[in-house]
């Protein structure tokens, strides 16, 4: 975007962002880890995590946000999340089936239950959070020279 964006927004916005961005991140992590006992899950959690970084970027400008989460790291996390998910799927072959829920189901209503479901949630949220942030960054960094106008 334009120059004033790079410097970020006003002091009020920055202060409030500083207070809320941690909470948003924490909420995202809560949503994703409790995906199998309450509404939510890996996808929603991942998007919330991505939104927290988007929030940071909108308020402070791209330098601060990219310092916290550089682009190389995002694309690495993204591929890692995808590989992790596929890896969980392939580990099911140890029990004889693709995507078998091979871990013991545990006690219902507890955080550590439901076998592979929480692990899948974590893998998906890594992938989704990093991926959506990467899309956002790519679109923000796209400059407009408008070659076609002349």
């Amino acid at each position: 975007m334009s120059k004033e964006h790079e410097k970020g927004m006003s002091v009020i916005v920055k202060t409030i962002t500083r207070l809320t961005v941690g909470l948003i991140l924490l909420y995202g992590i809560y949503i994703l880890t409790h995906g199998h006992v309450s509404p939510g899950g890996g996808f929603a959690g991942g998007v919330i995590i991505a939104l927290s970084f988007v929030h940071l970027m909108l308020a402070y400008g791209k330098e601060v946000a990219l310092e916290k989460l550089p682009k190389g790291v995002t694309s690495f996390f993204e591929s890692l999340g995808a590989l992790l998910f596929l890896g969980i799927a392939l580990l099911g072959f140890t029990g004889g089936y693709f995507f078998l829920n091979f871990i013991s189901k545990g006690q219902p209503f507890h955080l550590f239950s439901a076998g592979i479901i929480p692990l899948c949630n974590i893998a998906i949220s890594l992938k989704v959070g990093a991926g959506l942030f990467a899309i956002f960054v790519a679109l923000v960094l796209l400059k407009f020279d408008s070659e076609g106008k002349e």
Binding site: P39, F109, L142, E147, G148
Partner: protein, 112 residues
């Protein structure tokens, strides 16, 4: 029945926008609306009268849950919609950069 028709009208508004409008952003908007309508329709056909959401509770017995399968399927469909939208927006922005306009009648180098 009437609710299905309302949902269909929403779909048709989106479709009309895609087919009729000449601005790239408007076309994307139309696709998003049509996607919403299809997702809503899927959840509508799964609803059960006096139903409860399909989540067990440790304190009370829940009966008469709504169909969980369409909800899972719609989650997937929403993500697919987001992915397509992101791609379309990226394309639109690049097109703007190259042509300097969002009007598809002016973007006519190719004639299909």
């Amino acid at each position: 029945m009437i609710i299905y028709v309302l949902c269909l009208i929403l779909f048709c508004v989106g479709l009309y926008c895609v087919l009729r409008k000449r601005n790239i952003i408007k076309i994307i908007v139309g696709i998003i609306i049509a996607e919403y309508a299809v997702n809503l329709f899927f959840i509508l056909v799964a609803y059960r009268q006096e139903g409860r959401s399909p989540i067990y509770s440790s304190t009370e017995q829940i009966v008469n849950m709504v169909d969980a399968l369409p909800q899972a399927v719609v989650l997937t469909a929403i993500v697919i919609g987001l992915a397509t939208t992101a791609l379309l927006v990226a394309l639109a922005m690049r097109i703007y950069e190259k042509y300097g306009t969002f009007d598809i009648t002016k973007i006519r180098e190719l004639k299909g």
